[in-house]
Protein backbone atom coordinates (compact mmCIF):
# COMPACT_ATOMS: atom_id res chain seq x y z
CA UNK A 1 0.00 0.00 0.00
CA UNK A 2 0.99 3.61 -0.26
CA UNK A 3 0.02 6.73 1.59
CA UNK A 4 -1.07 9.72 -0.44
CA UNK A 5 -3.26 12.79 -0.70
CA UNK A 6 -6.42 12.97 -2.81
CA UNK A 7 -5.92 15.74 -5.39
CA UNK A 8 -8.88 15.31 -7.72
CA UNK A 9 -11.21 13.11 -9.72
CA UNK A 10 -11.08 11.57 -13.21
CA UNK A 11 -14.03 11.05 -15.59
CA UNK A 12 -14.18 8.80 -18.64
CA UNK A 13 -17.19 7.96 -20.80
CA UNK A 14 -15.37 5.56 -23.13
CA UNK A 15 -14.15 2.86 -20.77
CA UNK A 16 -14.03 -0.83 -20.02
CA UNK A 17 -17.38 -2.14 -18.75
CA UNK A 18 -15.67 -3.21 -15.53
CA UNK A 19 -15.16 0.44 -14.58
CA UNK A 20 -18.90 1.27 -14.76
CA UNK A 21 -20.08 2.79 -11.50
CA UNK A 22 -16.61 3.20 -10.02
CA UNK A 23 -15.52 6.58 -8.66
CA UNK A 24 -11.93 7.20 -9.72
CA UNK A 25 -9.83 9.59 -7.66
CA UNK A 26 -6.39 10.99 -8.37
CA UNK A 27 -4.02 10.40 -5.46
CA UNK A 28 -0.59 11.99 -5.13
CA UNK A 29 1.78 9.52 -3.44
CA UNK A 30 3.70 10.73 -0.35
CA UNK A 31 7.17 9.91 0.95
CA UNK A 32 8.04 9.05 4.57
CA UNK A 33 7.88 12.72 5.55
CA UNK A 34 4.44 13.19 3.97
CA UNK A 35 5.75 15.18 0.99
CA UNK A 36 4.37 14.47 -2.49
CA UNK A 37 6.79 12.40 -4.58
CA UNK A 38 5.20 13.49 -7.87
CA UNK A 39 3.81 10.03 -8.64
CA UNK A 40 0.06 10.10 -9.40
CA UNK A 41 -2.18 7.08 -8.88
CA UNK A 42 -5.78 6.58 -10.02
CA UNK A 43 -7.66 4.67 -7.32
CA UNK A 44 -11.26 3.44 -6.95
CA UNK A 45 -13.03 5.09 -4.05
CA UNK A 46 -15.74 3.55 -1.86
CA UNK A 47 -15.11 5.73 1.22
CA UNK A 48 -16.22 9.07 -0.26
CA UNK A 49 -12.76 10.56 0.16
CA UNK A 50 -12.45 14.25 -0.69
CA UNK A 51 -9.71 16.33 -2.24
CA UNK A 52 -7.10 17.25 0.35
CA UNK A 53 -7.66 14.18 2.52
CA UNK A 54 -4.79 11.79 3.27
CA UNK A 55 -5.56 8.19 2.34
CA UNK A 56 -3.97 4.77 2.00
CA UNK A 57 -4.20 3.05 -1.40
CA UNK A 58 -4.10 -0.75 -1.71
CA UNK A 59 -3.01 -2.45 -4.93
CA UNK A 60 -3.69 -5.78 -6.61
CA UNK A 61 -5.89 -8.34 -4.89
CA UNK A 62 -5.88 -6.13 -1.80
CA UNK A 63 -7.60 -3.47 -3.88
CA UNK A 64 -10.22 -5.94 -5.11
CA UNK A 65 -10.93 -6.88 -1.49
CA UNK A 66 -11.87 -3.25 -0.84
CA UNK A 67 -14.56 -3.37 -3.53
CA UNK A 68 -15.78 -6.87 -2.68
CA UNK A 69 -14.05 -8.95 -0.02
CA UNK A 70 -13.68 -12.67 -0.64
CA UNK A 71 -12.08 -15.20 -2.98
CA UNK A 72 -14.68 -14.77 -5.74
CA UNK A 73 -13.69 -11.28 -6.80
CA UNK A 74 -11.29 -11.94 -9.66
CA UNK A 75 -13.90 -10.69 -12.14
CA UNK A 76 -13.50 -7.13 -10.77
CA UNK A 77 -11.60 -4.57 -12.82
CA UNK A 78 -9.66 -2.86 -10.04
CA UNK A 79 -5.92 -2.64 -9.38
CA UNK A 80 -5.89 0.24 -6.86
CA UNK A 81 -8.44 1.28 -4.25
CA UNK A 82 -8.60 3.71 -1.35
CA UNK A 83 -8.45 1.49 1.72
CA UNK A 84 -8.52 4.07 4.52
CA UNK A 85 -8.78 7.79 5.21
CA UNK A 86 -5.75 8.67 7.32
CA UNK A 87 -6.17 10.73 10.48
CA UNK A 88 -2.59 10.68 11.63
CA UNK A 89 0.82 9.25 10.87
CA UNK A 90 4.13 9.59 12.60
Amino acid sequence: MIRGTVVGQVWATRKARGLDGQTLLLVAACDAEGRATGRLVVASDTLDARAGEDVTVAFGSGARNVLRAGPENRDLLCDAAIAAIVEGAG
Binding site: W11, K15, G18, L24, L40
Partner: protein, 110 residues
Protein backbone atom coordinates in the same frame (compact mmCIF):
# COMPACT_ATOMS: atom_id res chain seq x y z
CA UNK B 1 -4.05 2.66 -12.33
CA UNK B 2 -2.59 5.87 -13.66
CA UNK B 3 -3.47 8.53 -16.21
CA UNK B 4 -1.18 9.37 -19.08
CA UNK B 5 -1.03 10.61 -22.64
CA UNK B 6 -0.68 8.25 -25.58
CA UNK B 7 2.69 9.05 -27.13
CA UNK B 8 2.79 6.43 -29.89
CA UNK B 9 2.28 2.83 -30.90
CA UNK B 10 4.41 -0.32 -30.84
CA UNK B 11 4.16 -3.14 -33.34
CA UNK B 12 5.96 -6.45 -33.65
CA UNK B 13 5.97 -9.53 -35.86
CA UNK B 14 7.73 -12.00 -33.59
CA UNK B 15 5.58 -12.37 -30.49
CA UNK B 16 3.70 -14.75 -28.27
CA UNK B 17 0.86 -16.24 -30.40
CA UNK B 18 -1.82 -15.26 -27.89
CA UNK B 19 -0.84 -11.62 -28.38
CA UNK B 20 -1.77 -11.67 -32.08
CA UNK B 21 -4.16 -8.85 -32.94
CA UNK B 22 -3.48 -6.89 -29.75
CA UNK B 23 -2.79 -3.22 -30.32
CA UNK B 24 0.01 -1.85 -28.17
CA UNK B 25 0.34 1.81 -27.22
CA UNK B 26 3.12 3.81 -25.62
CA UNK B 27 1.71 5.89 -22.76
CA UNK B 28 3.55 8.57 -20.80
CA UNK B 29 2.16 8.90 -17.24
CA UNK B 30 1.29 12.32 -15.84
CA UNK B 31 3.09 13.44 -12.72
CA UNK B 32 1.67 15.77 -10.08
CA UNK B 33 3.34 18.88 -11.49
CA UNK B 34 1.97 18.26 -15.00
CA UNK B 35 -1.65 18.92 -14.00
CA UNK B 36 -2.65 22.44 -12.97
CA UNK B 37 -5.42 23.04 -10.41
CA UNK B 38 -8.91 23.77 -11.74
CA UNK B 39 -11.45 21.73 -13.68
CA UNK B 40 -10.22 21.15 -17.21
CA UNK B 41 -9.99 18.51 -19.88
CA UNK B 42 -6.52 17.00 -19.62
CA UNK B 43 -5.87 16.92 -23.34
CA UNK B 44 -6.11 20.69 -23.65
CA UNK B 45 -3.84 23.65 -23.34
CA UNK B 46 -4.34 23.60 -19.57
CA UNK B 47 -2.19 20.52 -19.00
CA UNK B 48 1.51 20.48 -19.69
CA UNK B 49 3.06 17.49 -21.42
CA UNK B 50 3.53 14.49 -19.13
CA UNK B 51 7.11 13.93 -18.07
CA UNK B 52 7.36 10.37 -16.73
CA UNK B 53 8.82 7.26 -18.39
CA UNK B 54 6.85 5.41 -21.06
CA UNK B 55 4.68 2.36 -20.37
CA UNK B 56 3.62 -0.14 -23.06
CA UNK B 57 -0.14 -0.89 -22.80
CA UNK B 58 -2.61 -3.08 -24.66
CA UNK B 59 -5.56 -1.12 -26.06
CA UNK B 60 -9.10 -2.29 -26.81
CA UNK B 61 -10.76 1.16 -26.71
CA UNK B 62 -9.28 2.49 -29.94
CA UNK B 63 -7.25 5.20 -28.24
CA UNK B 64 -4.64 7.01 -30.29
CA UNK B 65 -1.71 9.38 -30.00
CA UNK B 66 -2.66 12.56 -28.13
CA UNK B 67 -5.49 10.92 -26.16
CA UNK B 68 -5.36 10.96 -22.38
CA UNK B 69 -6.11 7.51 -20.98
CA UNK B 70 -6.53 5.53 -17.77
CA UNK B 71 -4.24 2.48 -17.63
CA UNK B 72 -4.69 -0.52 -15.32
CA UNK B 73 -1.95 -2.96 -14.33
CA UNK B 74 -1.80 -6.67 -13.59
CA UNK B 75 -4.91 -8.81 -13.31
CA UNK B 76 -7.16 -5.77 -13.84
CA UNK B 77 -5.55 -5.23 -17.24
CA UNK B 78 -6.39 -8.80 -18.28
CA UNK B 79 -9.96 -8.42 -16.94
CA UNK B 80 -10.35 -5.45 -19.31
CA UNK B 81 -9.04 -7.54 -22.23
CA UNK B 82 -11.37 -10.42 -21.35
CA UNK B 83 -14.37 -8.12 -21.97
CA UNK B 84 -13.57 -8.48 -25.67
CA UNK B 85 -13.55 -12.29 -25.53
CA UNK B 86 -16.46 -14.77 -25.42
CA UNK B 87 -17.99 -15.00 -21.91
CA UNK B 88 -16.06 -17.29 -19.61
CA UNK B 89 -12.85 -17.34 -21.63
CA UNK B 90 -9.66 -16.09 -20.06
CA UNK B 91 -7.16 -13.84 -21.79
CA UNK B 92 -4.05 -16.02 -21.65
CA UNK B 93 -1.85 -13.21 -22.85
CA UNK B 94 1.51 -11.88 -21.71
CA UNK B 95 0.05 -8.47 -20.91
CA UNK B 96 0.25 -6.59 -17.59
CA UNK B 97 -0.99 -3.13 -18.60
CA UNK B 98 -4.08 -2.09 -20.58
CA UNK B 99 -6.00 1.06 -21.44
CA UNK B 100 -9.28 0.88 -19.49
CA UNK B 101 -10.64 4.37 -20.14
CA UNK B 102 -10.28 7.45 -22.33
CA UNK B 103 -10.23 10.51 -20.07
CA UNK B 104 -12.95 13.14 -20.60
CA UNK B 105 -12.02 15.40 -17.75
CA UNK B 106 -9.83 15.68 -14.68
CA UNK B 107 -11.02 17.92 -11.87
CA UNK B 108 -8.42 19.22 -9.44
CA UNK B 109 -9.94 21.66 -6.94
CA UNK B 110 -7.88 24.76 -6.28
Amino acid sequence: MFIGRVAGTVWSTVKWPQAQGLKLLLVRPYRLGDLPPGAAPVAGAAASEPTDDLVVCADTLDAGPGDDVIVAFGHAARVALSEKLPPGSKPMVPIDAAVVGVVDRVEIPR
